[in-house]
Symmetry: D2
Subunit: 353 residues, 4 copies
């Protein structure tokens, strides 16, 4: 209960300033030649300190696999892994042991559990996502090699990448620090983030993810709809505030005549406003969705707040924080999507006699 | 697997033109004095034929409880229920046995399962939601009586209810056929739907849902976040294309300084852009979210399509269909939200020693 | 949670004197030509009134499928079914509304739930097993046709079928009322049950189940071991007190040298004391296990007991009850074993890349 | 899926000669003052090398908690832990890389997964149980302090502890190497094991477990029956061949008149042949059950076997192995029982409004 996935299942642990993060992937099929470089590559894309527009916390983020892989192949038994925390500056957080930071989970954790590890947000830290990147980038390898899962930053604040995804060259995504494939827009985004950072402020944005070449038939008809599983995974990301796929919120303005995707004779459709999913099941067209991220709550400016007894105090943001979470969230979105797809892909093997 | 809920669990069955819909609710606590009228009331709000702007299919939609309730109280054992289909005009659908309707699940079901019940969409029919309304309106009764869960139509096509939810009088929601509490906007929406209906067309829109007085502490920290569970439930609705909560997609345009919810000394917050949830856990403020619905795919106009062999054909929409799914989706959204909350509310009882 | 099965999943409902029993089977693969006669045949073997040595309660036990089967084939969507209760003599039970019958669940239900449907034991009635027979005999059809799952009565009280299962002719099982394939032993068992019945008493016994031709590889290595799943299913039967497989409790007396199953060169083993399972996974040899059943608790003789306030009373057993549950439990054991095997068989499809 | 527990959930990993074993406990309630010594105490009771009648493999078996505990208290977030393997003598096993040992899982793993870690049995090693002891001895601390869960060795080969558990002094259990509380029987068991060990042979036996003072109401009515959950857990132990509770297999020989537990006026029963469970739910009386263990399959004598191509070979047992698994299985049985009870105990909190 409360794992990621249905059949393929990820259980995780770890707190921001604990000893390590880690997880266990259950029911991973045997016989996969694991590409560990691909896993580390995604970890590196999520890693702090990789550019000037992300947090400067230092973490090597090296994953160590403890089981389930033998002589380079998965054995079908549980895959255990850990990522040690190099950088446990707990001292930085002692002033927060009784303070409630605005728009953080300090108050809710205290209320729910009666106790919390206050160091760096404890369990509520987005560092948890390091586990998801490990699991998701392994799960990706279960899908047919032709499946492409690509996320990119499609807006930062009011700066939008106006081009539809079809007109973008995805090979450009990692060519700039913000991970927007349109270089002109990327430049504007980067300047904006730098400006915001200088002010000790933070900024939100959106990520678009595109899945190509997924086989037809992935997704379950009632409570395991592909879009529902994707939405759940995306809304598990700490800063995510919204999810839309295909025509999304814009589609809610349209009429049926405009919105219906007429078929071609090869079973592709002419418009794909549906976003590659019908009745919860992939139809072979591109799946595309967008995730909204709020601005990071930790700002490096004084803020009024209260402590656990309701006494007012002034918080002075310290530490090394992201002015904009978007560039580092790109591999997280890809990894979660990969895990969801791999899970439903495996399940689909059992849906016909 | 693939049920609704984690601990409190709903399993359902039924096809559009089969004998009956129904479900089983597992792990429902014992000792509840069931208010069956409240259940039937929500069913009536979802029922076809209740106004001129919804489908004229005739269904009594009467639920029959088969177990788990004894002398008016829940017994703690599984609650089985059925809703018989009165209106099985299978003949209406024979012409569709090999046709693939645009933006329906005909093609994907055939590809996934190699077989499908083509009558009225079979399992992919939105009639499945009748089960959710039964289960959700029962689950609602597990929550403290002070909890209010209210949904309303906040847009139809390009017509938006511009007032924030705080300025609306929710007691007006059912005073008009479209279920928008702002009577002026409601009128415009109704005219729009009538116009669209006359054209044999359909139209999309959005529903806003507001949850008041939920206790603090509901929701799980990692993979059972309250917003993730809500998103999953909402994206399970057949026509849903998007979900956002709190500041949502608009929040992605903001800076941290603007977006952070500063605390009052009583632990409420000044702004609630967070939408009542921090770190996946309710914080006692109002929870509010919005769901986007695409226009209904069945239009009563000729459309080009193909059959299962890829041969072109012209579809003539027949039967009794909704020009706009929004008014009937209001109780569905409320019911799903109720079920998600009741599930996490029960789970929360076990989270402290 | 608390369903039968892991991937293939059965949820059930129903009380002894309620309107109906029934269930939903989720994730049943599409495309099976359902043999409904085979289902009804197993129901008939479980049915009351089929011989003089079982209860004379009258129930037609006819199953009605409500969904998931279309034109004779499974569609891959949830299979809903009900079995109506013909015989709801609630009046018979009013004297029991506050009494606690010895070795029944009256006291524990009241303590757990604070309420119980006292009519015929309510949810604790073994009539629940009618659901399992439906689900299990359908699930059986998912396995390769060569798989044989056969249960028989191997002891009644002190009367044991001494022959090993290999020396028995299973085609004789249904040739007598007690379902023991050895006709001489069967006769003794039947006389014993008749004698016991005359005294208003009841008697226990054991059932042996043999599974032949199961493919190698079924069962999961850690917490889904084949024997563990079988044990759980069998101990779910109301009167079951024990489970052993292969050498079982007798094997606990042996040494490794005696107990080890040496291989033949074709990977079969010479002795099969292991009972067809190694490390939780089927090895292609026969699987055999034994289930112990206590005597039915309802006896037709006066018994001392107490009511819910602890006041002493004399219970006079009434109604129509089984003097020995064994003959009717044979199809139940077969059905549960079938369901467990079908579930793990499907899961096994996903265990290799 | 395929975790231990329903709500309280254990996921594990580790292979005999891998880097480490470990696990994640999900949904552990917050606020428990963890007694880590109690955990280590149970680990030490399971540890190899603790006496002359168990394996001499050297493992410190020290558990390291990586998360979920803060300043000595559980935080309600996932508890991650690892136990490093000190003693990875993989060289010992190279001769087994293609051999199939009799009554081991070598053949079934190869067939199921197409690959296996052959070092010390890989995942099929009973060293996995080290994880269960950690989780179970933590879970024990969730139960009321008055609950006592005590296992002991009740037979070794043909040597039985004849006294009923009520006549035994449980404080003697750890006073001898074999963990039988009757010192006379213990001596005989120890001599027997030494004799068997000298022969390079192994021997089976049984463990009896007694649970005292469990509150009434624990266990679920249909598929989560207390005895079914216990049976599943026990049959997950590698060498377990059988499970019986209360009157068990002997009860199958009795009549209802003999077997029924008559009530006292304080709701206790006079006989408790039921073994403390009615209808799947604890009734406040002692719960007692027995588990049968086959003799360890690895014997230190030459055995005929085959390799993966079916070629005959002679196996020479090497390494350090248990002549009798029973003494070390005592804490395993207690730990599994603890975990099952803690899980159902938590669940029970949600079963009334």
């Amino acid at each position: 209960m409360f794992n990621l996935g249905n059949f393929l299942s990820l259980s995780t642990f770890g707190e921001s300033h604990g000893i390590a993060f880690g997880g266990i992937i259950n029911n991973f099929p045997a016989g996969l030649d694991v590409d560990l470089d691909a896993v580390q590559h995604q970890l590196d894309r999520r890693k702090p300190g990789q550019s000037t527009i992300v947090t400067q916390r230092k973490e090597s983020d090296t994953v160590k696999f403890l089981s389930g892989i033998f002589e380079g192949k998965t054995t079908g038994t549980p895959i255990g892994f850990i990522i040690e925390n190099d950088n446990q500056k707990s001292k930085d957080y002692e002033h927060l042991s009784t303070a409630y930071r605005p728009s953080h989970a300090d108050f809710t954790y205290d209320q729910k559990f009666g106790i919390r590890d206050y160091r760096g947000g404890g369990k509520s830290s987005a560092r948890e996502t390091v586990n998801w990147v490990v699991a998701g980038s392994l799960a990706k390898q279960l899908l047919p090699k032709t499946v492409e899962i690509t996320a990119y930053v499609s807006s930062v604040g009011e700066i939008f990448c106006e081009k539809p995804y079809q007109d973008l060259d995805f090979s450009n995504i990692d060519s700039n620090d913000v991970r927007c494939p349109d270089s002109e827009t990327a430049e504007k985004m980067i300047s904006k983030i730098k400006e915001i950072k200088k002010e000790g402020n933070t900024i939100g944005g959106t990520i678009t993810c595109v899945i190509k070449n997924l086989p037809v038939g992935i997704g379950e008809p009632v409570f395991g709809k592909l879009q529902a599983e994707l939405a759940k995974a995306m809304l598990s990301i700490n800063a995510a505030k919204g999810f839309e796929y295909g025509s999304g919120f814009f589609g809610a303005r349209m009429t049926g005549k405009e919105h219906n995707d007429l078929f071609n004779e090869d079973f592709t459709t002419k418009t794909n406003l549906s976003g590659g999913i019908q009745g919860g099941i992939s139809n072979g067209m591109d799946i595309y969705f967008r995730v909204a991220f709020k601005p990071v709550a930790t700002i490096l400016r004084p803020q009024e707040s209260i402590d656990k007894d309701g006494n007012p105090l002034i918080l002075e943001g310290k530490g090394r924080h992201d002015p904009c979470v978007l560039p580092r969230a790109v591999p997280i979105v890809e990894s979660l999507a990969s895990f969801v797809l791999a899970d439903l892909f495996l399940v689909n093997r059992m849906r016909r006699i």
